[in-house]
């Protein structure tokens, strides 16, 4: 049970004072073990079912053998090399698609987050509900709906055809012929759609905190609306941009649902390969190695990105 101090007791001399910690509570003498009891079950769960599997996966990736004879750890690092040299196109594609989807999410999501934060007035709550509500319909059903929307004979494709957009995207290699389904464009469109709320919500949270008087002040100092946005609003919304970007990019890079449902064999992403290797080919070492590389690559990219963007407190 979390209990409270009657009066702040003097801090025990053994523990060093933490000057800048946000917690105001000084440590208690009684119930010193309480935090550990509170943490124990949950952390145990995470250690056993999140951290330990990572170790098992790392060990599986350096095993050799077969399903029939069983696997043994032989430190066969060549699996990594083979996996990378065979599947680098899928890796590259995952990064490209996820980047494209993230940029699109930012471009599409920012106006909506801005609208909810500053311009929606009494419609704010309703729009908020409409942004979150699709979450409650299975995302697989909603992704399948894109098959209908982008169907070859549907209105979207025939419109894009009439205005010759498809000629341009065809030339760019994003679509092929008169089709949108089973092309990179369809997969990126699906990824963007699926992860858009993950961009909008953090953007909204950081926009909503901005004091509207700052906009007025910028205007009073003869800043045009564009300058106000560039110099005041956007920099202040950076925490939202950073966490939104991460929340979109990470799941998009590992996704295989959109590539499978809306794409073709030419749009397979690394998630598809891991899924096939694990569940159909049953080549566990290769699958584990691929998954390990994906994890390492994403952790590396995220760390670099956070360093550059300079937002440390994401949790």
């Amino acid at each position: 049970m979390a209990t409270l101090t009657e009066a702040p007791p003097p801090p025990p001399p053994a523990s060093p004072p933490a000057p800048s910690a946000p917690e105001k509570k000084p440590p208690r003498k009684r119930g010193r073990l309480t935090p550990y009891w509170l943490l124990l079950p949950g952390l145990l769960w995470l250690v056993v079912f999140f951290a330990l599997p990572m170790i098992y996966q790392a060990s599986t990736s350096v095993q050799t053998g077969s399903l029939e004879e069983g696997y043994k750890v032989t430190w066969h690092l060549a699996t990594y090399w083979d996996a990378l040299s065979e599947y680098w196109p899928q890796f590259l594609r995952s990064v490209l698609y996820a980047t494209a989807a993230t940029v699109l999410c930012l471009v599409l999501g920012y106006p909506l987050a801005y609208l909810i934060a500053f311009r929606a007035g009494r419609w704010r709550n309703l729009i908020m509900v409409l942004v979150i509500a699709p979450f409650f319909t299975s995302f697989l059903i909603r992704t399948l709906a894109w098959k209908t929307i982008l169907a070859d004979s549907g209105p979207v494709v025939s419109f894009l055809n009439t205005v010759h957009v498809l000629d341009v995207t065809d030339w760019l290699g994003w679509t092929s012929g008169d089709r949108v389904l089973a092309t990179p464009l369809a997969v990126v469109c699906g990824l963007t759609y699926n992860f858009l709320p993950f961009m909008i919500l953090p953007l909204y949270t950081s926009l909503e905190r901005i004091d509207v008087r700052l906009h007025e002040a910028a205007g009073d100092l003869y800043a045009t609306p564009l300058t106000t946005f560039r110099k005041v609003t956007f920099p202040l919304s950076m925490p939202g941009v950073v966490s939104g970007t991460l929340l979109t990019f990470i799941p998009a890079a590992g996704d295989y649902v959109n590539a499978e449902l809306l794409g073709s064999t030419d749009t397979r992403m690394i998630g598809n390969v891991i899924q096939t290797q694990f569940l159909r080919v049953l080549d566990y070492p290769t699958a584990a190695a691929l998954s390990f590389i994906l994890m390492a690559a994403i952790l590396l990219m995220v760390t670099l990105y956070i360093r550059r963007a300079g937002t440390e407190d994401l949790v």
Binding site: E23, L108, L130, A133, L140, G254
Partner: protein, 266 residues
């Protein structure tokens, strides 16, 4: 140029509403196609209006069973993750202890990891232990990935709590247990509820981690995935539409109640 000026002034609103349309378009399609009468096995092209699927929502073999399995897993995963996550959140906000940094990263990492990596590694664990894949392995996995989200939701609420309220309770001779039950818990309740709702939604809708660790157990998302290969029954759209409507209704009702309560207070 009044038109240009109007456009300029409302550019953000127009762009925002277009994005909102993009977000809602698939739901509109799902709803409309729940009234379709498809010719072949797939429900991707409009044929003619019919309410057959709505009259017989469980008419597809296995679908309602998968729905019930998903509900059971989501309920238990919500209970488990909310309980464990709330305890962690209280420990993080209220106490100082060693290894705080490692605890924080252990909670943050599952949210920063692509689902497919967690799914694959968990499967290697279960394979190595020789565990029977099914209901229990799905439940274990769901509690694992929902936990962190509950911690974040509850932590935010507990952090914003005024500690003086609890001190006041204790000044009025409430014991620790009484203070917790009558003061702390009610104030933290909205955060706990938000965490629980999030956990339920995440668990109910999870596909990737479930796909790896389900064995032959079929949850509702697994059923939809399978039907994308075999043929999509209209009933899937009925369930999708119904879930959307229930969610919107629930949220709107709670908003109306909340508004009324606020007005009474004011």
């Amino acid at each position: 140029m009044p038109v240009v000026n109007w456009l300029k002034r409302h550019l953000v609103v127009i762009a925002g509403l277009l994005t909102l349309g993009y977000l809602l378009l698939p739901n509109v399609v799902v709803t409309v196609f729940s009234f379709n009468k498809p010719k072949g096995r797939f429900n991707y092209e409009w044929q003619q209006f019919s309410t057959d699927a709505w009259k017989d929502p469980c008419g597809v073999a296995g679908m309602c069973d998968s729905l019930s399995i998903s509900l059971q897993i989501a309920i238990w995963a919500t209970i488990g993750a909310t309980l464990l996550g709330t305890m962690i959140a209280f420990a993080l906000v209220r106490y100082r202890f060693r290894a705080r940094g490692s605890v924080n990263s252990l909670i943050f990492l599952p949210m920063a990891m692509p689902e497919v990596v967690m799914a694959a590694s968990l499967l290697t664990l279960f394979l190595n232990l020789g565990a029977q894949l099914g209901f229990w392995t799905i439940l274990i996995a769901h509690i694992m990935f929902c936990l962190s989200f509950v911690v974040v939701a509850v932590k935010a609420r507990v952090l914003s709590m005024d500690p003086r309220l609890e001190q006041a309770a204790q000044d009025l001779y409430a014991g620790p247990a009484q203070t917790f039950l009558r003061v702390t818990l009610p104030i933290a309740a909205p955060g706990i509820a938000a965490g629980a709702m999030l956990a339920f939604a995440l668990s109910f809708d999870d596909f990737i981690i479930t796909n790896f660790n389900a064995g032959s157990t079929v949850t509702f998302p697994m059923f939809v995935w399978g039907s994308a290969q075999r043929g999509t029954p209209v009933q899937i759209n009925v369930i999708g539409t119904a879930m959307f409507l229930i969610a919107v209704l629930l949220v709107l009702t709670s908003m109306v109640i909340g508004n009324r309560r606020n007005r009474q207070k004011a």
